[in-house]
Amino acid sequence: MTAPPLVIGETVPVDVGAEREQMERVWGSKRGLWGWITTTNHKEIGKRYITTAFIFFLLGGIEAAMMRAQLSRPENSLIGPDKYNQIFTMHGTTMMFLFAVPIMEALGLYFVPLMVGTRNVAFPRLNAFGYWLFLIGGSFLYVQFFLNTGPDVGWFAYVPLSGPAFGPGKRADTWAQTITFTEIVAIVGAIELIVTVFKQRAVGMSLNRIPIFVWAMLVTAFMIMFAMPAVATASMYLALDRLVGTHFFNPAEGGDVLLWQHMFWFFGHPEVYIIFLPATGLVSTMLPAFTRRPVFGYPAMVLALISVAFMAFGLWVHHMFATGIPQLAASFFTATSTMIAIPTGVQIFCWLATIWSGRPRFATPMLFIMGFIFLFVIGGVTGVMIASVPFDLQVHDTFFIVAHFHYVLVGGAVFPLFGAFYYWFPKVTGRMLSERIGKWNFWLFFIGMNMTFFPMHWLGFYGMPRRVYTYLASTGWGPLNLLSSIGALVIASSVITFLVNVVVSLRGGAVAGDNPWDADTLEWATTSPPPPYNFLHLPVVQGRSALWDEGDERQVTVGTSTERREVLLTTPLDAQPDSRESHPHDSVWPLAMALAIGVLFITAIFTPLALPIGGALALIAFAGWAWPTSQDVESEKSDEKISLEGA
């Protein structure tokens, strides 16, 4: 029941119902639980990725609230040191590894294929595997926490405190394995994004036309590829020291405690930008919709992203000034840490120019964007200050730093993220979030944020170190801490407001339509929510602002199969059509593989038998994953056109 194929120059008829049905059959997942488990649709996976990461955000937030409760007055006995140390470790680990990085990647995995105009990510099964592994790793950490064997050595897990001699039990092992999980997940996501961006862009979307969010995700993905191996290697050394008695960090046997810090921060500093760059991408991509003009200075923005990514690998030692680094080295890292403010400054100036020369609309996402600039610049200027060695030696490991990086990470990443929730919620669900509740959400967050974190600058000067479960009344830190704790309550109320908004709007929010913000990127060219195949006909891009530059008609592609899952591959630079590649069916094997790897990692903490058992399970899962099914044979026997060019 296929209609005659469309040819070049023809207008797509209004009635494409039959074609849609056919595509729905090919790309849709089975109904029910089985379909839910086996799906490889990037939007399904992206949605649950975002939801899961957000649940971790809530958990991390509850931990933060508990800490603020404990610190609200001196010598409070609400939470003892043992619990407190677990809680702050969980807070940091959760927010960095289970919330911030995954949610940015998840947004990328959901929106990058839509923004570049393709049907799915490059390796759909790998994508599903990544999500399941993330879920298993995160759940493992929390199960351990609820069993009172949560890590208690800080999210940075400095040796020797986390090593075999001072970290008894399985707590630090839990931390190390959680890192292994999340690291693999992050690298898997990064490879998905890189390949999708390089090979699956819509025809005509040459590199200089990619939406800035996609650029940001691409740059971030590259950073992940080079940064994550550092923490993975370090956590492997730690696990080996703890489990089989190697001596990487044992000074008595030629090991070195600073080795850990170098490895950790070689990852840890880029990590900050792995979180921050996608957030700047979100801002640059949302801003045009609310200023009614393309973002100012596209080339400068892209160059800024790339230069930040390079510089981010050259300043890790500024986390280690107090360890007594030779002065020459310290000066070098001070200089690089200061320099990174220049590209970041350029980004901010470009946003200001965009706002200045546009016609702003103050919808909730725009408020979050402006709040972001307000807060991030505070965190930015304190960041320049702590690049200074002498100044850092005073405030390092104090609440001043806590204040600084919460301005950078909450102001710089969570604010854009909340803006993004308001902005893209209609695309994902088909309904708008309430603007009225949204304004409450924003103002409560904004006020709470400043109340909580601004006083911490002064606490740092007054000598309050980080990671203390209590303090003496004689220190005089009580009132500022109380103010900060009240601020935390305000933030909590803001987050609750957001949850209320989601629940209310899911049921009764205004129906969004395809493009409620009149925005310019490709995801708005399809329905809300998008169909499993994203676009009935893959779009052809005419300019940087895809939907504004296309004129009255949208140019589209025909010729990808409607009989099987197939994506169009284009050339990496110019996005000229190059080949059609078949995409795999839904499969349960990614889940099986994730379970096998999960068994391997988790049991490795307890017994070396994990290796053969987990290995065997993984082998089975691998076979199931790769072995062609009858469905594969069916769909691929059809006239394959083989090209040997470039082989």
Binding site: V195, M225, T233, G255, H262, M263, T557, E636, K641, G646
Partner: protein, 203 residues
């Protein structure tokens, strides 16, 4: 609401099976190779960082690692580039029989190399738990060894598929990428072999 669409590009005539950097898998393979290469690079960096903590190398009281057997092993490793190359060649020719043959040969090579790797461990003449020197020597070997084992599983699995299973056209580019990854394995072994077995005699 929906805009009028006009067809301007027809991709019907494009190929559905492509080789090398035109396909997705090539990019994915190298993506993982880069991440793994970074891990190896950082392990090598660790080696030199820890080196500073010892006056002599190997540290006082430890014998030099045995260099002879590992060097033979390295030569075998280098030689396996030939079946990897031939595998790629035959895959590009879409020659199923030849590809199967070379996959089997590469599988045998992979198994032999796994055996050689156990000899490599013996040749270290130090245990991982005696000092940081032993630890990093073992980890360098072990990490590359685990990549080798995983790749051996993939090569053998693909060989089985080519012998028994339904071989689809897309498996030819896949086989090609196996060859590419094999090059990465060999290439990354060279510096490790050098710093683990030859290095202690030099620095």
């Amino acid at each position: 609401m929906t805009k009028r669409e006009r067809v301007t590009v027809d991709v019907t005539e494009l190929p559905t099976i492509v080789f090398g950097s035109r396909g997705l898998l090539w990019w994915g393979t190298w993506g993982f190779a880069v991440a793994e290469g970074m891990t190896l690079f950082l392990s090598i960096a660790t080696y030199f960082y820890l080196r500073r903590n010892f006056q002599t190398y190997p540290p006082l009281g430890y014998p030099q690692p045995d260099w002879f057997a590992p060097t033979i092993g390295m030569a075998i490793f280098l030689a396996t580039c030939i079946p990897a190359y031939m595998l790629k060649k035959s895959a590009v020719r879409l020659d199923k029989d030849a590809a199967t043959r070379w996959l089997v040969i590469l599988s045998v090579c992979a198994l032999v190399l796994c055996g050689v790797r156990t000899i490599d461990f013996y040749a270290l003449r130090v245990l991982w738990m005696t000092s940081a020197y032993g630890s990093i020597q073992w980890v360098l070997l072990g990490f590359h060894g685990s990549l080798l084992v995983i790749e051996a599983a993939e090569v053998i699995g693909t060989a089985v598929l080519f012998i028994k299973g339904p071989v689809l056209p897309r498996h030819f580019p896949d086989a090609c990428d196996i060859g590419n990854y094999w090059y990465f394995l060999v290439l990354s072994w060279l510096p490790i072999w050098f710093i683990v077995y030859i290095g202690p005699r030099i620095w």
